[in-house]
């Protein structure tokens, strides 16, 4: 009987309590402290001197960081390429595709007023955004995962992105897929323009969130 009570107590002690929005944000940006991140040093001066658009991509699930440089513009999307053929495609601030960071994200389709694509200031985001993620599976059709995201505007703050300080507004997206799985995105938007400077976006069930720091924005007129 005493053993039964002890074991019942152990079972109950395995329970816990709920978190907050701040904990959610911290969990996304620091998902697994046991995975050692290899982050390359960013030479901002060299990037600015070369007049390159560049991003720092961090994949916490595999503990890898890469600096990608814009090499192509295709259908309005910018393709950034890094060492070892890793790459990321951005449509505005939306992570459209990834290569070499685990399970490749093939594409994302979204609604026409997606604030990640359209550079929308934090207070003006639509209440909900629906996106569909495409990931390779058996056969010629990609698996599609559709998720709907609600957003909450957080604090205004200054962040450092590759040795440059940016005044940003924090926006957290709380997303649910059609299958009922939950994930969250965190974005830091330019306080004046709504342009993304840092974002952590879900890119699939295996690869999960990838963080992108925009070192130098792509300027089509440059």
């Amino acid at each position: 009987m005493i053993k039964g009570v002890v074991f019942a107590g152990l079972i109950v002690s395995l329970s816990g309590c709920l978190g907050t929005l701040g904990q959610m944000r911290d969990a996304i940006l620091n998902p697994n402290p046991e995975v050692e991140m290899r982050v390359p040093r960013v030479n901002r001066a060299a990037i600015e001197a070369a007049d390159l658009a560049a991003v720092l991509v961090l994949s916490p699930t595999i503990g890898l960081g890469s600096v990608g440089v814009a090499i192509q513009m295709r259908d309005g999307r910018i393709i950034y390429n890094a060492n070892d053929n890793r790459g990321i495609t951005l449509e505005g601030g939306l992570v459209f595709a990834t290569l070499g960071f685990g399970t490749n994200l093939q594409a994302v389709t979204t609604q026409s007023d997606d604030p990640l694509v359209r550079e929308t200031r934090a207070g003006a985001w639509p209440a909900e955004v629906t996106r569909t993620y495409y990931i390779a599976q058996r056969g010629t059709e990609f698996a599609q995962i559709t998720a709907t995201c609600r957003n909450q505007v957080g604090r205004s703050l200054a962040i450092e992105v590759a040795e440059a300080t940016r005044q940003v507004v924090e926006v957290v997206e709380i997303c649910t897929t059609q299958a009922g799985e939950d994930f969250n995105n965190v974005h830091y938007l330019d306080a004046d323009t709504g342009r993304i400077w840092r974002t952590s976006q879900w890119t699939g069930p295996v690869q999960t969130n990838i963080q992108v720091d925009v070192i130098e924005q792509f300027d089509p007129d440059a």
């Binding site: 053993k3 079972i11 978190g19």
Partner: protein
């Protein structure tokens, strides 16, 4: 000579397992810490094979996880004690009632040895929780989880009982498993309320080491004075074993623009140099290259990747960036070892339209057509010069045979394989086997040799010559493949065999015909023969059906017992190279029962004499009876060509851009 350090390591481990000793028991194929249960991994389609070796207990167990909330275990234990030896087959279930949450534990209930009256029967309820690298479970158990040797449970005169479930004496248990994160080491400790020979309660500890991907060896000890070893193979046919994350991405695709035409164009030699350099980084080997007119023709193969579509896609990505602007077609030839089978003809403009699109794989498939590789082609800029080579490997092989119509008994064999390859088409191979797991009762040789039912008469538990044969493969026309082989094909037969297969790369079926003449091999010794021979003539239809990797094989013709028989095999190819199939055979012989068999084929490079994407196989039933049996080991061509089936390539085309 190529070396197989992993294979050698495996053989050393298995050798040490054979010398291991002393009791405690696994839990019938379900997830376990040491000898107490834990929650399932939560990954659907997981497949686990366990071998337990103790002094008075040994078992082979299979664990299947059809969904993330259900585990099914099938176990073949053998118990040795003062009363002698007993064997049984155990069916077990683990059901996750409550999924573990971020802050809440999971709840699992299990029934082990259902319908068995052997001492393996038991039930449990457990709660589990993961804390970082630690996974903890606590629970209550009945039957084998409460008593060292439970009795009177499961069946009553052959009638399956359920009134014993979760009844009688109960005992608590707890376990904790720690993934150290160091060199694949996992440590576990557990407590159970089972009274043993030396203490009223049992405490145990184990240390596991992952030798190779999915292959783990565990040493365990408890305070009852017992120790043992466990070998576990775990994999998931629905998840890729290859290329999941190779640390680099595929080459960026560069669309062909009009502006490129005005730039200086590279020569064929420059394209080849760049292609070789970049393909090598992706473990792709270029064995032929030609650039003529508007076409680049490449023969490419990957030693690590079983998905040809991905290899073709990676070649297309590289060529998109380095090929001259006037090149409109990339031809990527698939090589199976002996044959150049298909040519995937990729339309460059079609790929330009596909890349980056949400339906990019469908568009790429639309831009691809298939041709049979011509028998003779003009010499390319490079063409492979084959060097004769000697290779070897070690592969476990498992069979569960129907000794009688309702008795399934198990053998596990370790085969040491060696091959000398004279040319891509011709090799001599030998295999020496040792049966390390044997549930058969040895029989004396019969007065008259039998086609198959005498298989328990072949000498067990000694090193024996499994096979020694020569095989040559060649093409008669681009669509007609052929093979001749001679020698000792398998433990029971040796002779000569010939085969022809017709296949069109644009079709989803192939037709084959095999003729074989064999002599029955001696029951003792390596090279002798019995005074009995047989000939077979079997036609086969191989067809891929549907879009999920399903296939059907229909065999018909004269079999070993001079009987006409028809065999039907249905199965599924998984996209990572796994193959699971079931078969049945009907014989015209009226006394012959329907035969049933099953096969699991798992790609494991360390089991293959050729390395790379070789596979090991597990067979259940199938060959055991006299009627409807054929000779194995002749080298059926379809086993080599199946990866070239159009439907198989289409199945993998989602990976074209990966």
């Amino acid at each position: 000579m190529s070396h197989k350090p992993h294979g050698i390591a495996l053989s050393l481990v298995l050798s040490s397992l054979l010398a291991a000793g002393a009791a405690a028991e696994g839990i019938g194929g379900l997830s376990q810490a040491i000898d107490t249960p834990r929650a399932a991994s939560g990954v659907a389609d997981s497949f686990v094979i366990h071998f337990d070796f103790r002094d008075d207990y040994r078992a082979l167990s299979f664990g299947l996880q059809p969904s993330d909330w259900l585990e099914i275990g099938i176990s073949f234990p053998t118990y040795d004690d003062d009363a002698g030896s007993s064997s049984g087959n155990e069916l077990s279930f683990g059901l996750r009632l409550l999924k573990e949450g971020t802050y809440t534990p999971g709840l699992t209930v299990g029934i082990v040895g259902f319908g068995s009256d052997d001492r393996g029967s038991g039930e449990y309820v457990l709660a589990s929780k993961t804390f970082g690298a630690f996974s903890a479970s606590v629970g209550l158990g009945w039957g084998r989880y409460a008593l060292a040797v439970p009795e009177d449970r499961g069946t009553d005169d052959g009638v399956i009982r359920t009134d014993h479930l979760f009844e009688g004496d109960a005992a608590p248990f707890a376990n904790i498993v720690w993934d150290t994160g160091v060199a694949g080491l996992v440590a576990a400790a557990e407590y159970s309320g089972i009274e043993g020979a030396e203490a009223d309660e049992t405490f145990a500890a184990s240390l596991s080491y992952e030798l190779l991907d999915g292959l783990t060896v565990t040493g365990l000890v408890n305070n009852q004075g017992n120790a043992g070893l466990r070998l576990q193979f775990a994999a998931n046919p629905a998840q890729s074993l290859a290329q999941e994350n190779i640390g680099r991405g595929p080459h960026p695709y560069v669309p062909n623009t009009p502006a490129r035409a005005s730039q200086l164009q590279p020569t064929a030699a420059q394209v080849l140099a760049l292609l070789n350099e970049r393909a090598e980084k992706e473990d792709i080997r270029i064995s032929r290259f030609a650039m003529e007119g508007d076409t680049i023709d490449v023969t490419a193969s990957s030693a690590k990747d079983v998905v040809f579509a991905r290899t073709a896609g990676r070649i297309a990505r590289i060529l998109s960036a380095i090929a001259p602007a006037n090149i409109t077609t990339f031809r990527v030839t698939q090589n199976t070892g002996a044959f150049d089978s298909n040519v995937a003809v990729l339309d460059r403009a079609g790929l330009d339209r596909a890349v980056g699109a949400p339906n990019a794989a469908e568009l790429a498939w639309d831009a691809t057509s298939f041709e049979a590789s011509p028998r003779n082609r003009p010499e390319g800029l490079i063409a492979d010069r084959f060097e004769p080579r000697f290779t070897y490997g070690i592969a476990p092989s498992f069979r569960a045979d129907f000794i009688t119509s309702d008795t399934l008994e198990l053998t596990g064999t370790l085969n040491a394989n060696a091959r000398y390859t004279f040319s891509p088409q011709t090799f001599a191979a030998a295999s020496v086997g040792y049966r390390f797991l044997n549930q058969w009762t040895q029989q004396d040789p019969p007065a008259e040799p039998q086609p198959r039912s005498d298989f328990t008469s072949y000498a067990p538990d000694i090193v024996y010559l499994q096979s020694l044969s020569v095989r040559h493969r060649f093409r008669i026309t681009p669509e007609l493949y052929s093979r001749v082989s001679a020698g000792l094909f398998e433990r029971a037969y040796g002779g000569v065999s010939g085969e022809v297969i017709w296949r069109d790369p644009e079709q989803n079926f192939a037709l084959g015909l095999e003729a074989t003449y064999v002599q029955k091999r001696a029951y003792q010794g390596w090279f002798g023969f019995e005074d009995a021979d047989a000939s077979t003539l079997i036609g086969s239809l191989y067809a891929n059906v549907g879009t999920n990797g399903n296939f059907v094989i229909l065999d018909a013709g004269q079999h070993l017992a001079d009987d006409f028989a028809v065999g039907l095999t249905i199965g599924r190819n998984y996209r990572n190279g796994w193959r699971i199939a079931a078969s049945t055979t009907w014989s015209e012989e009226k006394t012959a029962p329907l035969k049933f068999g099953a096969e699991v084929s798992i790609p494991l490079s360390w089991t293959s004499v050729e390395g790379g994407v070789g596979a090991t196989n597990l067979f259940v039933g199938g060959q055991s009876g006299d009627f409807g049996s054929r000779v194995s080991g002749t080298g059926l061509l379809y086993d080599e060509l199946r990866a070239s089936d159009k439907r198989r390539i289409e199945d993998g085309f989602g990976e074209f851009w990966n």
